[in-house]
């Protein structure tokens, strides 16, 4: 999985230039920055959304502290703050296929599984892990 992520990163530079999706995710992240003050309440809401089967449903594939019956398809979500900044996490949630075309992670933003606000709250939560 880590190799896949690394491969995805090496693909990301040219794709970032070309992709309007990446542009919109940058715009989203600056919006989210201004909302940093709300991050704490956002994190609690984000955890709810991350664990909700009809919303993020992250536990279906990822092990997350505090969640029951996790799946094993994706990597364990831990130490995320040290490894990714807000913009990167937002971009992954929006459409991970931009970085890694063969990922099985659903494009939560692009396919409107989650709204921008919901993604922002989940990013708040992921940054507490």
């Amino acid at each position: 999985m880590r190799t896949a992520l690394a491969l995805g990163l090496s693909l990301a530079m040219p794709l970032l230039v070309m992709s309007s999706l990446a542009m919109s995710s940058l715009a989203m992240s600056s919006l989210a920055m201004s909302a940093a003050a709300h991050a704490q309440s956002g994190a609690a809401e984000g955890q709810k959304l991350a664990f909700d089967r009809g919303k993020g449903n992250c536990l279906t594939c990822h092990e997350i502290k505090g969640g029951d019956l996790p799946g094993s398809i994706g990597p364990k979500l831990e130490n995320l703050k040290g490894r990714y900044d807000r913009a990167e996490l937002t971009a992954i949630l929006n459409d991970e296929t931009v970085r890694n075309p063969s990922t099985v992670m659903p494009p939560f933003g692009r396919n409107r599984i989650l709204t921008e606000q919901e993604i922002s709250a989940i990013v708040d939560f992921l940054q507490t892990l």
């Binding site: 996790p70 799946g71 094993s72 398809i73 296929t97 063969s102 099985v104 396919n111």
Partner: protein
Amino acid sequence: MSAMRVLLAVAATLGLGAAAIAADKPDPAADAKAFQDYFVKKFPKVAFDDFVNGPYSMNADMRRQWEEKEQFPPYEFALEAGKEMFAKPFKNGKTYADCFPNGGIGIRQNYPYFDDKEGKVITLELALNRCREANGEAPYSYVKDEMASLTAYMAYTSRGKRFDIKIPDDPRALDAFEKGKEYFYTRRGQLNFSCASCHVQSPGERIRAEILAPALGILNAMPIYRSEWSGMGTTSRRIVTCNSQTRAVPLEPQSDEYRNLEYYLSYVSNGLPVSGPGARP
């Protein structure tokens, strides 16, 4: 992202060269070999014939529970019903046996086949309903109940016989195979999964508490009793449910797309034994 690009990405993970995709003429035999080699290499401890046992071949705990359950298999009721239905004459006095080679016994491994008169793929479920209609009977629902019972019985009489799907050297048959392959590897639905996302890229992994089955051998166990369904389901039901669970719009059972998909997926499991009817969580 275009379907072709996804196809290439997955082909790369399957170890197929770009040349295999770009080749002028489809080569089902080479595709099947690459497909089977991929799973054998990914799961070196799984015996080849064990792939027909889906998640049980990948997880020791689940296997133990399943082996206990097989003492009183949950598909037994459907199997008994199917045996009776199969023997009972239609109103015109004929039976299912009159519609099939070898009286319908021990033939599951040959389905689907390519019908050169019609120029299309014929699945066992389709052949059963055509048999009914040809004899003045109403067709059954493709997804469960009677259809599951009949196919359970026909699979049971074929247990252990190895899948032997034929692709004649006919451009229409090769086209059906290629279309089935494209359907299998194309992402769709809100969750953006292809069949291969789960059953080629992630078999053996857990989605929540479930274990994803390998695509290799997945149809050899059909029809199945699923605890999640509290009942039996056919190949049609399995595919329709996969589509809806990934938030794609399912097609009509036995649509050309699904028939081609079944043709592709069955062909690449050639050599594996029939194990149906099966039981799954």
